[in-house]
């Protein structure tokens, strides 16, 4: 199988040289090129090419999800440094090639480029990251073609149940590591019990994958919150983006809401938060996922970002180390900030961890055989920069869980920093500060 594509490749390379209209000189050149090419074609399958391990990497470089791909260039550079001289497996050097494709934030595009990676580039392993819109279509294609695949940065429920996974058997070829809804529900509800409030929670859950999952009355937030004695003011799902939140704010104010939560994009949150100020609505705790996850986005809120809380899947304070570079989380973040002069961002840790697992798997597999690679993924036990990755002890087969805590944007010196304030779901990550109610200037 693996020999034939290379032969075809070389035929194509030699072809145009021979077909050129001939002068004496170009004829000589042509023959030379053809012979050179054929010489390579003899050697290639046995010495070089078959040893090259190819990793296909899909990420939303452009479109609305592009903010997740901000650290990609940096991560690719780090990986390139690591693999430019090949990877040693059982005493032999193997070349490793990473082929990077853009999903354009579009699920059907993600599926198309995955199929290209598999069929045209002949990749041995596919990795992808950033939201179910990227992970799910990529994993579906890999499952279809029987190519091993590792993904992260999407809660495991939409990944697993969104692809009709069977909790008994899991998937054959595709694996995922991240936290799940149970972590975010557990972490947030503990967080909100830390300070005295009216116990009334106003919610901003839009009509999309995340909003529907979080607001689900069986598996989402509402049952847990009711059990813990909170009152949930949920006005129902809504279409985003919306330009006006005044109807939400009046309702929240009428119900004496002290805690606001939700999962909405930065422009929607900026709207909500400005209008809340305009209308004199002053909740004590605001825990909105998505909008305040990215430091750059938080900068856009200026002073008004102080005190906001958010789920934290990776931060420079996480007590983990990279298995690839040996950097601690803090060192990785500092390296990123020094190299790119941008603030650190959570996907940085996840992208890094994705390649940690990929390289570790290829090293242990030591073969291009997809089944060997697949079994190597299954057997993964690796301490990555986002925590231990292990596909054996997950909530369902094919899924490994990484820890989740909650953080708050607090003033440290002149700048705002995201500090860990809650760790009930992941006690190995230490708490750095106490939760503070949001302060308002009168």
């Amino acid at each position: 199988m693996s020999g034939s594509p290379f032969k075809d490749d070389n035929k194509n390379k030699a072809g145009p040289n021979i077909m050129k209209p001939l002068s004496r000189r170009s004829f000589m050149k042509g023959v030379f090129a053809a012979s050179a090419a054929s010489a390579v074609s003899l050697k290639a399958p046995f010495v070089h090419a078959s040893d090259t391990l190819r990793i296909g990497f899909i990420s939303p470089q452009t479109g609305p999800l592009a903010v997740f791909a901000e650290p990609d260039d940096f991560t690719m550079m780090q990986i390139f440094q690591k693999i430019k001289n090949g990877v040693e497996i059982d005493g032999r050097r193997h070349d490793v090639e990473v082929i990077y494709k853009d999903s354009q934030s579009n699920p059907s595009r993600a599926a198309t480029v995955t199929a290209e990676l598999i069929l045209k580039d002949g990749v041995d392993l596919v990795v992808a990251s950033s939201t179910p819109a990227t992970c799910n279509p990529v994993a579906d294609q890999c499952e279809l073609y029987g190519v091993p695949c590792i993904t992260n940065d999407a809660p495991w429920q939409p990944y697993f149940f969104g692809r009709n996974g069977d909790p008994k058997t899991g998937f054959d070829w595709t694996f995922h590591f991240f936290w799940g809804l149970e972590d975010v529900v557990g972490s947030f509800s503990n967080l909100w019990q830390q300070i005295p409030t009216s116990k009334a929670i106003g919610t901003l859950w839009p009509n999309d994958e995340d909003g529907n999952a979080w607001g689900n009355s069986d598996r989402g937030f509402p049952p847990v919150l009711k059990q813990k004695g909170f009152e949930v003011i949920d006005r129902g799902r809504f279409q985003t983006p919306i330009n006006d939140f005044s109807s939400f704010i009046s309702e929240f104010r009428r119900n004496d809401v002290d805690i606001v939560t939700g999962v909405i994009a930065p422009p929607d949150f900026a709207n909500f938060w400005n209008q809340a100020g305009q209308m004199g609505f002053q909740p004590k705790v605001v825990t909105v996922a998505k909008a305040t996850e990215f430091p750059q986005a938080v900068r856009a809120f200026g002073e008004r970002a102080e005190g906001l809380t958010v789920e934290l899947m990776w931060s420079p304070s996480h007590p983990f180390k990279s298995s690839l570079t040996g950097q601690t989380a803090r060192e990785l973040a500092n390296d990123y900030m020094a190299t790119t002069s941008r603030p650190w961002t959570m996907p940085l840790g996840l992208k890094h961890a994705l390649f940690e697992v990929a390289i570790d798997v290829l090293q242990r597999a030591g073969s291009k055989d997809p089944e060997v690679i697949r079994d190597a993924i299954k057997a993964t036990k690796l301490d990555t920069i986002v925590g231990p990755v292990d596909f054996q002890n997950g909530p369902v087969p094919s899924v490994g869980k990484t820890p989740l805590v909650s953080g708050q944007w607090q003033k440290r010196g002149k700048d705002l920093d995201l500090v860990i304030v809650e760790n009930s779901q992941a006690p190995m990550i230490p708490v750095e500060a106490e939760l503070l109610p949001i302060q308002y200037k009168s």
Partner: protein, 286 residues
């Protein structure tokens, strides 16, 4: 209910600012500017860039933005859009559609994918208390007042000035207007320059009231488009009222169920198209 209507009218003011540029370009050149949303976003980014680099007050940034917008609109029409104008509306649609993609990707290349906003300090959260249960934001009020001023200004410009007369002339009959010595291309370029000023204003406000990021544009176009269609093509008070209708209906929808807000807006849009295909207050035909 009073609060809902007032908030709806304020929202309408925002939509009106978005829509006026579109209405102007359509009124004079019969040209639908698909890149409108992205042009609003790029104006926001330029304003933010200038604020970061020059460190000026937001007000000065706004004043600086207008001449830049006018010149770029004038050049864009003169060099690009004028070549696409013909009886066939397709070339200009395709060009502006392409421009929309180019703007999104250029912005992402230059600024990255992160959302940004114009820092206006306490203005972003300032409110006026109308009654103990009713407070409205100062910024939405400013936007609403600007919408009225712009609409009034445009209508006055069209009715009472020489430029306005030339706009109407080339819009009514380009060939005859040219026979009378008007350069239609120059008039078109002036109109687009003016439209870009309105777009820049919208971008400036958008950067102040929320965040802008490179892929936000297309969703802004939709509401602007609906406001223009509901109001009727080519009439500025029509656009203003169309925006009000859209804002208030959305707000009434939100009041009953947050899932209905945007949907109510679309419903009204379809109903208007069905009953009065030319819009509520049409000035131009076809």
């Amino acid at each position: 209910m009073l609060e809902t209507i007032i908030q709806g009218i304020l929202l309408g003011g925002l939509y009106c600012i978005f829509a006026l540029g579109l209405s102007l370009m359509f009124g004079v050149m019969r040209l639908t500017n698909i890149a409108l949303g992205d042009q609003i976003i790029i104006s926001g980014f330029i304003a933010i860039g200038m604020a970061t680099v020059l460190g000026f007050n937001v007000l000065w940034i706004g004043l600086l933005l207008l001449p830049i917008a006018y010149i770029s609109g004038f050049c864009f029409q003169g060099w690009v859009l004028n070549r696409t104008l013909s009886k066939d509306p397709l070339p200009s649609l395709v060009v502006t559609f392409g421009l929309s993609i180019v703007i999104q990707n250029t912005l992402q290349m230059v600024f990255g994918a992160n959302p940004r906003s114009l820092d206006v300090g306490s203005l972003s959260t300032a409110g006026v208390e109308l009654s103990p249960s009713l407070t409205v934001g100062v910024l939405p009020l400013i936007i609403f007042v600007s919408a009225i001023v712009c609409t009034f200004g445009l209508q006055w410009l069209f009715a009472h000035t020489a430029i306005g007369r030339s706009f109407r002339a080339v819009s009514d009959d380009r060939e005859v207007a040219e026979l009378m010595g008007l350069s239609a291309k120059r008039v078109f370029a002036t109109a687009t320059g003016l439209a870009f000023c309105l777009i820049a204003l919208a971008g400036w406000f958008q950067g102040m009231r929320t965040t802008v990021s490179p892929s936000d544009g297309p969703s802004l176009l939709l509401f602007a488009f609906e406001a223009v269609i509901i109001g009727g093509m080519g009439s500025f008070w029509g656009t203003f009222l169309g925006a009000m209708v859209l804002g208030v209906t959305q707000q009434v929808g939100f009041h009953y169920d947050p899932g209905w807000g945007i949907w109510f807006g679309h419903l009204v849009f379809i109903v208007v198209l069905f009953i009065k295909p030319n819009g509520l207050f049409p000035k131009t035909k076809g």
